[in-house]
Amino acid sequence: MSAGAGAAIDIALSAAQAAPGASALEAARLALARDLRLAFRKRGQLIQPLAFFALVTMLFPLAVSPELARLRAIAPGVLWVAALLASLLALEFLFRDDAYDGTLEQYALSGQSLTWLLFAKSVAHWLLTGLPLALMAPFAAMSLGVAAAAVPGIIVVMLVGTVALSLIGAIGAALTLGMKRSGALLALLTLPLSLPVLIYGARATQLAIGGSSFIAPLELLAALAVLCVTLAPLAAAAAVRISLE
């Protein structure tokens, strides 16, 4: 184990062992800082979802047609399916290392709110996958023939939608925590629950590319994100407790 990982675990333990008087927010902040630090020690893993996203986007011109007019028509769907799959791919790493080295158990036993700690982990997951995906989506979109004017809209919609994806994914990842081969099952659990995000996200992106107002689907997307922020960490915490039993 590298020295960096050791230091990060110390932070995790300090988060876990923060005196019961320490606020849940403070513990969550420490957990978030630890996850980010650990992730930046393994930069290779950070690139993977982005490379996957670019790769899936590239498959469509090869499989469908290189004509930009046709690609522009399917661009919203391509972007969102690629983002959904990239987010799903990154989910496997969300809890796995922490489950192996006992960090999750420390979290559960710490007396701190597991809900807040898992919320912090989901935020870290979003910062490490959702945010980069949202920033990369415009480049993928432009390679599919989308005009540069649509870029701000695409970024905003992607930012909001990936929040919901990260949080829904946390539930699925927590439920499949103890399993050896969880990949296909994780997809089967997470994708049906993510469909509303896909529908509103792709529609808002389509409107943004077309140059019309995309406020209505964006608001529905934001409503989903708020629902996920409030409820998903609770469900994920319950799932982690079941998996740790």
Partner: protein
């Protein structure tokens, strides 16, 4: 009213015996209602002026579709009861619901597709109800897949229950987002099932069949719950004595 009846239901020996006694009282009326309903629907009811004889498939399709949702709700409620009051029998009920509900979902999908061929001219149309039904099938498969992923029954019970509750929250969201999605892509010009102005000669057989399907589900559920109890309590003394008797 006392709640002792509810607590007694939690006892495997009591429920095992009760299910055995109740099953014929549900199964025979179900068989009579379904046979009578099919006769009334397939022979007595007049053909539709637009769809001709083809409309008669609703006598299988509509009850199956209703049951597919009703079984999911039953499963979610049983799972919640099991999780909240730590009632193992409720988990057995939830686990028994899933394959039945998935079968009704498949029946609704197949009959919907068969109906679509003469009416729409294609075997599959991305109609909102059929799409919702397909998503429901994936939710059932996810529930069964998650349960199958655990070796330990108790963990399978609790993880599955959590997923069923999350799914129960999600079903209306998915349903309405699919309707919203569809209203954008397809003009609502196709013929629809279940118009309220359906004449009594067509409606009454449908209601008879709906009741028959519900009783059929209840009977099936009791048989499956007994099988679950047999498997879960295979080491228990009461079971050995009951089987010897």
């Amino acid at each position: 009213m006392r709640w002792t009846w509810f607590h007694r239901l939690a006892s495997p020996p009591y429920l095992y015996g009760l299910a055995a006694r109740l099953t014929p009282w549900l199964a025979w009326p179900a068989a009579l209602l379904i046979l009578g309903g099919f006769y009334a629907g397939l022979v007595i009811a007049p053909p539709d002026y637009q769809q001709g004889e083809g409309f008669r498939i609703i006598y299988v399709h509509v009850p199956s579709a209703w049951l597919s949702l009703m079984v999911y709700v039953t499963m979610g409620v049983a799972a919640a009861v099991g999780l909240i009051w730590r009632m193992k029998i409720a988990h057995a009920v939830a686990a028994s619901c899933a394959p039945i509900g998935a079968s009704f979902t498949v029946a609704a999908l197949v009959t919907g597709s068969l109906w679509g061929k003469p009416m729409w001219g294609t075997w599959w149309e991305w109609d909102p109800r059929l799409t919702s039904e397909l998503i429901l099938l994936f939710l059932y498969l996810g529930f069964m897949g998650l349960r199958a992923g655990f070796d330990d029954t108790q963990r399978a019970d609790r993880a599955g229950a959590l997923l069923a509750i999350v799914g129960l929250v999600n079903v209306p969201i998915v349903h309405y987002s699919v309707i919203w999605w569809n209203s954008l892509h397809q003009a609502p010009s196709v013929m629809r099932f279940g118009k309220p102005e359906m004449p009594p000669a067509m409606l009454v057989p449908l209601m008879i069949l709906l009741l028959g399907f519900m009783l059929f589900f209840a009977a099936l559920l009791l048989v499956r719950v007994r099988a679950e109890i047999l498997q879960r309590e295979r080491a228990a003394n009461w079971l050995r004595e009951a089987l010897r008797a």
